[in-house]
């Protein structure tokens, strides 16, 4: 008489779920990246698109190869490998030989993610691990920037044979950051805003990156504290320096809109896996990045510091998390506050 109704499902509560799922979040990031990516391709030509594809191919291949066989569809389904490759591609110079871009994708996912145990387990942002690896490995190719040029011209350096140097045959031009750092030449703000400067293929258009960020914020996929904290800190720090010596140090507007600042602050530092969980931790994380960026840019040896700043703060994230545990409801402030 008392029999379980066969069609009824038994599952523990809560029964309701919000609609957002991880793959949806990843897709949202794709959409948010699209405008800046298209702008990059528009400015730097089809070659940029090929570089991007090579990165994604490397990333996806590793993800696929190392995923346990029965879980392959699932591993790829979350869309993070493509995203990693994509983000990596956006940080590369548009004339980078394709084999290097591919290698970057392989390293990004292989060392940045797979060995840690897959999505969610890594400490460092995979795309930035890939980029740091490439920058340390091929320092010249990674700092050879080409000027925006004809859409259909593909630099021949792209097709260098594996292990071989690519000879850049298009017009090279120092990036705004390099010009500022080594020659103290300012780049017009309008160019920085729309992206008509040399630089990594996805980082040049400040405006479109901010639009993407706003979209993500609106979709609640992005912790606004991180970009706001990073950019705010960088602005304050660089403003102080700028007031001390305006000839020597770049102004806050230049600091924010040049180089990978916006790409890093909006899309890389906000990677939830590698940023702290708690609100307070998030602020510490963001301020740390902001300080390190300006420190490295202004006083360090590299024109750009956002990548290193994020990686260093990634390394500190477990510690930040440990020491910014929220105070449990109804408990006295017994520790760490």
């Amino acid at each position: 008489m008392t029999q379980k109704d066969p069609k009824l499902l038994i599952q523990p509560g809560p029964q309701l779920r919000q609609q957002m799922t991880t793959p949806v979040v990843m897709r949202d990031v794709w959409y948010a990246l699209t405008p800046a990516t298209l702008a990059g391709i528009w400015f730097f030509g089809l070659g940029a698109f090929l570089v991007l594809l090579a990165c994604i191919a490397g990333a996806v291949l590793v993800e696929w190869y190392f995923a346990p066989e029965e879980k392959r569809g699932y591993f790829l389904g979350d869309g993070t490998a493509i995203l990693t490759g994509w983000l990596l591609g956006l940080t590369l110079p548009p004339a980078l030989p394709l084999w290097m871009a591919f290698l970057g994708g392989v390293v990004a996912v292989g060392i940045g993610k797979t060995i840690w145990g897959g999505m969610g387990a890594n400490i460092f942002n995979p795309a930035l691990v890939g980029r740091a690896f490439l920058l340390a490995t091929f320092p010249i190719a990674m700092t050879t920037w080409t000027a925006p040029g004809d859409f259909f011209t593909i630099p021949s350096s792209l097709f260098a044979l594996p292990l071989m140097t690519g000879v850049v045959d298009t017009v090279t031009q120092a990036s705004p950051l390099g010009m500022m750092k080594f020659e103290h030449i300012d780049t017009p703000f309008i160019d920085l805003l729309f992206g008509n400067t040399s630089g990594s293929l996805g980082e040049t258009s400040g405006l479109l990156l901010i639009l993407g960020g706003i979209y993500l914020w609106w979709r609640r996929d992005l912790d606004w504290r991180i970009p706001v904290g990073i950019i705010g800190t960088a602005v304050i720090f660089s403003l102080i320096l700028f007031m001390v010596d305006a000839d020597r140090y770049p102004g806050p507007v230049f600091t924010v809109f040049s180089g990978g600042m916006l790409l890093g602050a909006i899309f890389m530092a906000t990677d939830p896996v590698t940023s702290p969980l708690t609100r307070k931790g998030t602020w510490i994380f963001a301020i740390g990045i902001g300080l390190l960026v300006v420190l490295i840019r202004v006083f360090g040896g590299f024109p750009e510091g956002i990548m290193y700043a994020i990686l260093l703060m990634n390394a500190a994230t477990p510690l930040i998390d440990m020491y910014t545990q929220p105070r449990v409801f109804g408990r006295e402030l017994d520790q760490n506050e």
Binding site: G112, W116, A132, F299
Partner: protein, 193 residues
């Protein structure tokens, strides 16, 4: 940036003993699984390094100038004995401090970072103050690296998602590699301004 300041920043960040010179890898890879222990080991290392710098300066100035061939052996013997003496003194005077640092002191003495510190400081021709700052930077750099490492390892062990094959030294080395890559960002710090 003054010279002393640069020596400090340089050993702390740019030429970090662990991440750029591969010194002190045994404790760095071996003891970094617990944050608390790592931190205390780091403190003890700072302490021993400063003592080492003092010893090395003393030896260099008063002894080795006459007998350079005794450098290696006197570094080892003198540093080990001085640390041993200090350990006894701490044990007597401050049990709290001894509990915090004590068990690490003899361990650290045989660590290549200590010997390396003495030898590098000598090779660079550092004087007393430079040597002390160098030791402080090196010790703090070691602490920074091992604390970051321990934090990451604790986190990663919690996730428990790593393939079994990669656990242990191979993995720790690769994390160290990435950390070392991140520290490359400090290269050239304050040298251009």
């Amino acid at each position: 940036m003054g010279d002393l300041g640069w020596i400090f920043i340089s050993t702390l960040l740019i030429n970090n003993f662990v991440l750029a010179y591969f010194l002190g890898l045994c404790p760095f890879l071996g003891v970094s699984n617990k944050l608390e222990v790592s931190f205390r080991l780091g403190l003890a290392t700072i302490f021993v390094m400063v003592v080492t710098a003092l010893c090395a300066w003393f030896l260099n100035t008063y002894v080795l100038i006459h007998a350079p061939y005794l450098r290696l052996i006197s570094f080892i013997v003198v540093i080990a004995s001085v640390v041993q003496l200090i350990e006894m003194a701490i044990k007597k005077t401050s049990p709290t401090l001894f509990r915090a640092l004590g068990i690490f002191l003899p361990l650290i003495t045989t660590n290549c970072a200590i010997l390396g510190l003495a030898i590098f400081a000598t090779n660079k021709g550092y004087g007393l103050w430079e040597g002390l700052v160098y030791a402080l930077g090196a010790g703090m750099g070691f602490t920074l690296a091992i604390v970051l490492m321990a934090g990451m390892r604790q986190e990663v062990e919690k996730v428990n998602a790593m393939p079994k094959l990669i656990r242990g030294f191979a993995f720790n080395l690769i994390i160290s590699g990435i950390l070392s890559m991140a520290f490359m960002g400090f290269a050239g710090l304050f040298s251009s301004s």
